[in-house]
Symmetry: D2
Subunit: 345 residues, 4 copies
Amino acid sequence: MVRVGIVGATGYAGAELVRILSGHPQVELSILTSRQFAGVKFDRVYPALAGCVNLTCEELDVETVCERAEIVFLALPHQLPMTLVPQFLERGVRVVDLSADFRFNDAAVYESAYQPHTARGLLDQAVYGLSEIYAEAIRSADLIGNPGCYPTSALLPLIPLVRENLLNPDTVVVDSKSGVSGAGRSLAITSHYCEANESFKAYKVASHRHNPEMNYILGRETGRPVELTFVPHLVPMSRGMLTTIYASLNRNLKEADIRSCLQNTYAKRAFIRLCPAGRVPDTLHVKGTNFCDIGLQLDHSNNRLIVISAIDNLVKGAAGQAVQNMNIMLGLDETSGLNPVPYPL
Amino acid sequence: MVRVGIVGATGYAGAELVRILSGHPQVELSILTSRQFAGVKFDRVYPALAGCVNLTCEELDVETVCERAEIVFLALPHQLPMTLVPQFLERGVRVVDLSADFRFNDAAVYESAYQPHTARGLLDQAVYGLSEIYAEAIRSADLIGNPGCYPTSALLPLIPLVRENLLNPDTVVVDSKSGVSGAGRSLAITSHYCEANESFKAYKVASHRHNPEMNYILGRETGRPVELTFVPHLVPMSRGMLTTIYASLNRNLKEADIRSCLQNTYAKRAFIRLCPAGRVPDTLHVKGTNFCDIGLQLDHSNNRLIVISAIDNLVKGAAGQAVQNMNIMLGLDETSGLNPVPYPL
Amino acid sequence: MVRVGIVGATGYAGAELVRILSGHPQVELSILTSRQFAGVKFDRVYPALAGCVNLTCEELDVETVCERAEIVFLALPHQLPMTLVPQFLERGVRVVDLSADFRFNDAAVYESAYQPHTARGLLDQAVYGLSEIYAEAIRSADLIGNPGCYPTSALLPLIPLVRENLLNPDTVVVDSKSGVSGAGRSLAITSHYCEANESFKAYKVASHRHNPEMNYILGRETGRPVELTFVPHLVPMSRGMLTTIYASLNRNLKEADIRSCLQNTYAKRAFIRLCPAGRVPDTLHVKGTNFCDIGLQLDHSNNRLIVISAIDNLVKGAAGQAVQNMNIMLGLDETSGLNPVPYPL
Amino acid sequence: MVRVGIVGATGYAGAELVRILSGHPQVELSILTSRQFAGVKFDRVYPALAGCVNLTCEELDVETVCERAEIVFLALPHQLPMTLVPQFLERGVRVVDLSADFRFNDAAVYESAYQPHTARGLLDQAVYGLSEIYAEAIRSADLIGNPGCYPTSALLPLIPLVRENLLNPDTVVVDSKSGVSGAGRSLAITSHYCEANESFKAYKVASHRHNPEMNYILGRETGRPVELTFVPHLVPMSRGMLTTIYASLNRNLKEADIRSCLQNTYAKRAFIRLCPAGRVPDTLHVKGTNFCDIGLQLDHSNNRLIVISAIDNLVKGAAGQAVQNMNIMLGLDETSGLNPVPYPL
């Protein structure tokens, strides 16, 4: 059993990590930290897990964490991890960081979207944890920058297509819709029940920090700058993310060509499900799972491709992919602990 | 008092017409027809209106309707109105038809999206009832083809912009999200509570019949064929429609230029609210109202415009706009009966 | 036009007062105060009302309010009104207080549930504003203690029955279910979207402060102490309150006897709708209205009566009833400003 | 591996059985039948399970089922199972029936609530499958009448209390609230999204068929007729059931006495979680699980006990308890296949 710890265990992504890891057959969940709930039993914060998780939240103390864990998940707001990661790595503890701090190898890009980076020296060794795409590099990494939820939903369908040069990156529009859990457990008026219920709205239009993240990764893949347009929206539901992507094709292609490209890339990947023609992804079908469902359709009238992906923002968009990355890092089956049968509704 | 009738009063759009017209100060709601509920008091079908509406639903009989009403609303599935409208017009009764049957002056376009048209002779005199845009023609019309909900939400922001040639119609992507009431009162698995709740999905991707409707109207406005891409989605909420529109600008424009164009067009129109910079439309803010809220944002990185509109699909997207058209036809204030103060939540 | 003011205009009850009063034909809404949003235009806090309400929120200054308003609504947390009400009354301004401060004529009862009362001298003249029951006293009152939402939903059906001694008050169980707006606009984890959505739970079991309020009023009506059992629950919806009441009948009565009693009491009251046999109240049918729908059923197997009421907690349960009380105080039709046609859904 | 079959696999209870059994470590799910979807792959009906369940629905043929399964679950409307069960038992196949057909040993009681019973001869050997209470009898049973969802939620807390004669059965009121999935997958206007959303209502007031089921079981336990009052309500959420029970205590007891009684009964039962004092059950905490959370509170003012239970209506209220019963029948750990870690939200 590998001993693992979670730093920041009581936010929604942290709690989802607790759920997955406490049911993981090759892992012992050995320490949970939480600033807000230090000293409180985890199941008092999340009573759903009463009888299933017996740990008590602790104040973060790096030494203690390193004594008890061989690998640690950081589920913290950005800017904190960059101060912690060096301490964990020095002590030989591998890190999966769910914040943005280690998603960019280029500090300048990070800094233009966030703030000064104080651990630039580690950026080179950090691996972007888009599991299906970068499994090779993840395997030997000590530090994973776990992707943002929106980038995960957009990049999984886009990367195979841009790698084969099927579409024009300059024409890409990413219209994403997220359940409210994406805004986290911190109280805010936009997550207040009566403001979110029966409400559908965009936010951070063309100014969300996941936009540079997508641009950066796609730019690296295509070898030239990408400036896609990204608009996130908030859906009155707890979990789930649907991303509708529009792009002009580079040449006259058939829907089958696009489908083949994705099929070839993902044929052996357990968590990618390509919808048969005529079926579209639905967040309900991936709720609580690590699946990414992908559907596609050609708009023949203007040779524009529409690709749609659905994920659970807290699982494949955060904690699930983080555990998938841990599995890869540890040489385990990548699905380990991540394959409870999905709920039919 | 003008006597008005509603044919098809027990569907959601019909019931919304009942609500608005029974509170309209210059109108007497004199007859309701319903195939399914003939003989049943309207407030047994919609108990919310008990004590407010005392009519009993009747079988449709054109003669009876024409005796009792000077103007009639048809809230029926397409294909039925084309058989009824000639009978109403012959008897001197003006018609606002909420179906698609009289939205196209060109029968061929209608027939390519629907089925053969049996009242082609009336298409020339039918006026597309996008109230703010075509008020002049509506005023003297005897037959209104009331716009679809999606086209209303997309055309109100788009027409002023294409009229001034600010954007490239070939680049237009319309990503719309609708509450479940858009699917109507007829039972269907997609409107079954447990299938729609906690679910977000696209449907009729690039194949919805409102797509040719938008193309047709925009084509007429620009004088050349338009083939925009349109994807509708279903949101787990009862009412509301948000449409996010993406388009490349024709030249280097500032956000203020776009804003001016819309401001100039809609400055005096009571139902169009332009959101100040930094605010985005939210379906919650237009729920139950005839407002169309419009917000906009330039993606400077790629000179792409993002325009967002919010309407209540049953009001501005159907019954409200129909009554607004009736007001215009009757020479009344266009807001008459349509301005209850909105709910704060 | 009567000039009215709202103190605490940006909470949910306050905002609902703004909605109703700004559409009220005999009223001019002349001043809004808000501690949190002083200096901010009201429609920036509630954008739904953009173009409909043009007031800017102000700091509370009693003199200013009294110059501009003849009657004032207090939509504040309890304990604040008892310091303000004396100042308003001294200056000849009548008050409808939506808090609990003036609901009890007996300071000891108030103090056992809340905290010391600092305006005991006014309790005698305060009238409990359950409009349909105490209209006579409300008419000439200068100070109304507007009922709590739960007591409104329970007392409207119960008072006529206990007045005729039809049921045994010792057996009364009140099981209430409220939409989340009842918890107000203040941020709290129980109103956080992901905690309230897909969740149904009780809270303050047999310890809610509305329990002594019901006991007190029923005790006054019956002339002896009443100790009913009350459990409130939270429903994942924005608005609405359903209250299911259980009580043993005092003697062998038929359902028709109970029905007659309620019918006789409420026959001429515009806002009470008695459901015909076989129909049950539904919060959806009263959403956004000042109606209280009441249904009843006898459990013949054990001679227990079940009465069910539905209200909109923010309207009949708060702002609507407050305006109804103002109408009565001013000698207006009690429905004035309160009768927009309800939405069918 | 025990081979099991599901008859009626595409309703909501059936689909939930598919989910649980296809992840059960000691079971091979070998046959699914569905009248409506015969010939269709199960994952086309429930795309969430794509890649997880590979079976195709078949027409029901008893011989085929008996060849392929040693134990069979019937998830059918009542009245059908009574014709099928004899055929299965004759062929040596054990049955867990989720309908009401075999919940009553007394045909007269069944027939007064349902319709004539055509397999009366089997009623004696049928065991009521309330797992925690009747485990002994379940172990050796060939035929289980799986309890209704409402009775499960009420009887689990009530039976220990009436067995110790702590409360007066004549005073019991059961006020239950269920998510919409309880109404099943069949289309109906009450399950239509816009009718159920933002709506809370009672239904079948004091006339639901689960009322006689509770009366019958409690009567058997107490040895005298019980006529409790039961009112079910519909909550706008997919899954979950909260039941609030009111009853007068038989003598002056403390909350601790009641708590001890339940604690003693359920101390070793994995699926019953007694909430510590001050905490109340929440359907969100049991969603997707086989747990029954129980909380209690004394209303000291009138010596009335309030007990609240929360279950997932599709799991502990149907499919989960059915599998728990199968586990007991097969001598497996009763939690087998039923203990995925719960979701924190």
